[in-house]
């Protein structure tokens, strides 16, 4: 027995038994197994067991398989809506808790920088620090007196026109603390007190809108704040009616330089004895920070001339 040759042949025996060798190789192996007892026994064993393996008849799937499959598919088709919904709510809740927790930590630590990007707030009124964004160039803008912060602003006696929009740029913008969480960009603004005497406040993640004085129903500054402090200058201002809290808009723009306008809900403001309808829009810059708040009134405003 040539051991090296036997080793080679045994290596090729499975393929030989299965008829997978070429003619020349098959003839060589066949010639060897005819004269080699050990390799012949090996070949017979392989033929026996592989023959048994090949002779196995396929079995049919159980009749209950289709029902089981149908049940699993039905379960799958029901599951996504529930699970995705639950996950979405869970994620939102987790983000909110994270925001609140981080916010409280930051606040308590006193980690507020003195300098921060200016907050531009749109208000439908005139002010030395106001940029007017009015589609009608002929409209008249009222003016708020900034020289005496303690006094109420004075305004023109012309009523505001419908859908006029003004932009107030606070002179001393407060710093912004921003938390960049992986999935939610959270913005916090310190309370801004402008010369027209307004402070907006809210509980953490809500925007608050308040009418700020009686000189014009359009003198509204809206901002997001969590301090709970508030100071309303309007003497005859119905705070409970004017306050409007709304969730922070979720669709914060991501594109650089974009000032996306997110319409908020309409509300009614009670200023003195008059009621005006106010429509508020919030604009975000590319960092997702509030760049402006635009407030439109219906013009049915009686000015308080205090």
């Amino acid at each position: 027995m040539n051991l090296s040759r036997c080793h080679d042949v045994i290596e090729q025996l499975p393929a030989f038994v299965e008829g997978e060798l070429g003619n020349i190789e098959a003839a060589r192996v066949r010639g060897h197994v005819e004269i080699c007892r050990g390799c012949r026994a090996e070949e017979l064993q392989l033929r026996s067991c592989l023959g048994t393996l090949r002779s196995v008849a396929p079995i049919s799937a159980p009749s209950a398989l289709q029902a089981k499959f149908a049940a699993k598919v039905a379960k799958y088709e029901r599951a996504p809506a529930r699970s995705f919904g639950a996950m979405r709510w869970a994620a939102s809740a987790a983000c909110l808790l994270l925001v609140i927790g981080v916010g409280a930590t930051v606040r308590n630590s006193g980690w507020f920088h003195p300098q921060a990007p200016p907050i531009v707030t749109n208000v439908q009124t005139d002010n030395p620090s106001v940029r007017v964004a009015d589609s009608n160039p002929n409209t008249h803008n009222s003016t708020i007196n900034n020289e005496n912060p303690g006094s109420l602003p004075t305004v023109d006696k012309q009523p505001l026109e419908t859908n006029r929009v003004a932009i107030i740029e606070p002179e001393n913008p407060e710093p912004i603390v921003r938390d960049d969480t992986p999935r939610t960009r959270v913005i916090r603004h310190r309370p801004t007190v402008s010369n027209n005497a307004s402070v907006a406040s809210s509980n953490s993640e809500f925007l608050s809108i308040r009418a700020v004085d009686g000189t014009s129903a359009a003198d509204i500054i809206a901002m997001k704040r969590r301090t709970g402090q508030e100071r309303i200058a309007a003497a005859n201002y119905d705070q409970s009616a004017a306050k409007a809290e709304m969730p922070r808009p979720a669709n914060i723009p991501a594109a650089p330089g974009v000032k996306m306008i997110v319409p908020e809900r309409d509300e009614q403001l009670h200023v003195g004895s008059s009621v005006t309808n106010v429509h508020t829009e919030t604009g975000f810059d590319s960092r997702g920070e509030i760049a402006l708040i635009r407030i439109k009134t219906d013009g049915n405003v009686k000015l308080d001339e205090k």
């Binding site: 004269i35 592989l50 048994t52 008849a57 799937a61 398989l65 699993k72 598919v73």
Partner: protein
């Protein structure tokens, strides 16, 4: 081609143009399903349930478990059919999922340590067979399954594909996502493993005339 081959069991001889037609038929059903026709998937299920079950059962060797995994395979296909590349062979893709799910199942459940081999012979017989043939087939199925369960899983799956499903080495390489050379080597080792376990189980009763030189 053996009696239980894939092609014959779906009522056609898979050669050349016919094979291409079968693939076209599968792709047509897939397209219909993706277009919203649920009945197209039912057709695919009816067509392939036996093949998938045979693969899974060959690897797992346990009817209840195999039924569960087979249903899971089809659910996976149902869910991921949108990701199926049109133009590729549906059967190959389906078998790949079946093999992977079955192999995963053996790993997670560690079935090999406690498999009740008696279950392996509990199949539904082909009613067209004579009682003797049914007995022989049950017998050989039980023997083979018993030996298969002693073969490592990495060889068991290729044996199932080759001998239960009658796939060519090229098809096997596609299902197992390996090269043809790798598939050949693996099949070679699998055969030797099977022979070794077979001899361990049943001895070396070959009873063949042995011509002496």
């Amino acid at each position: 081609m053996r009696a239980g081959s894939m092609a014959q069991r779906i009522g056609a001889v898979v050669t050349g143009e016919r094979a291409s037609n079968l693939e076209d038929a599968d792709n047509y059903l897939v397209s219909r399903f993706l277009d919203g026709d649920r009945s197209a998937f039912d057709t695919l299920f009816a067509k392939y349930q036996d093949y998938v079950y045979n693969i899974v059962f060959g690897i797992l060797g346990k009817p209840d478990e195999s039924q569960d995994v087979t249903a899971d395979v089809f659910v996976t296909v149902f869910r991921s059919l949108k990701g199926f590349r049109r133009g590729s062979r549906f059967a190959t893709w389906l078998y790949r999922i079946a093999v992977n799910r079955a192999v995963d199942s053996t790993r997670s459940a560690r079935l090999r340590s406690w498999l009740p081999f008696d279950d392996a012979t509990r199949e539904i017989p082909d009613t067209a067979d004579t009682p003797e043939r049914v007995f022989d087939k049950k017998e050989s199925r039980g023997i083979v399954q018993k030996v298969l369960m002693k073969v490592p899983v990495k060889y068991r799956d290729i044996l199932v594909l080759r001998y239960y499903q009658d796939l060519s080495i090229e098809e096997i390489s596609e299902v197992l996502s390996c090269t043809i050379s790798a598939a050949k080597v693996r099949l070679h080792r699998a055969r030797l493993q099977f022979k070794e376990k077979y001899v361990e189980e049943f001895g070396t009763d070959t009873n063949e005339p042995f011509p002496m030189p």
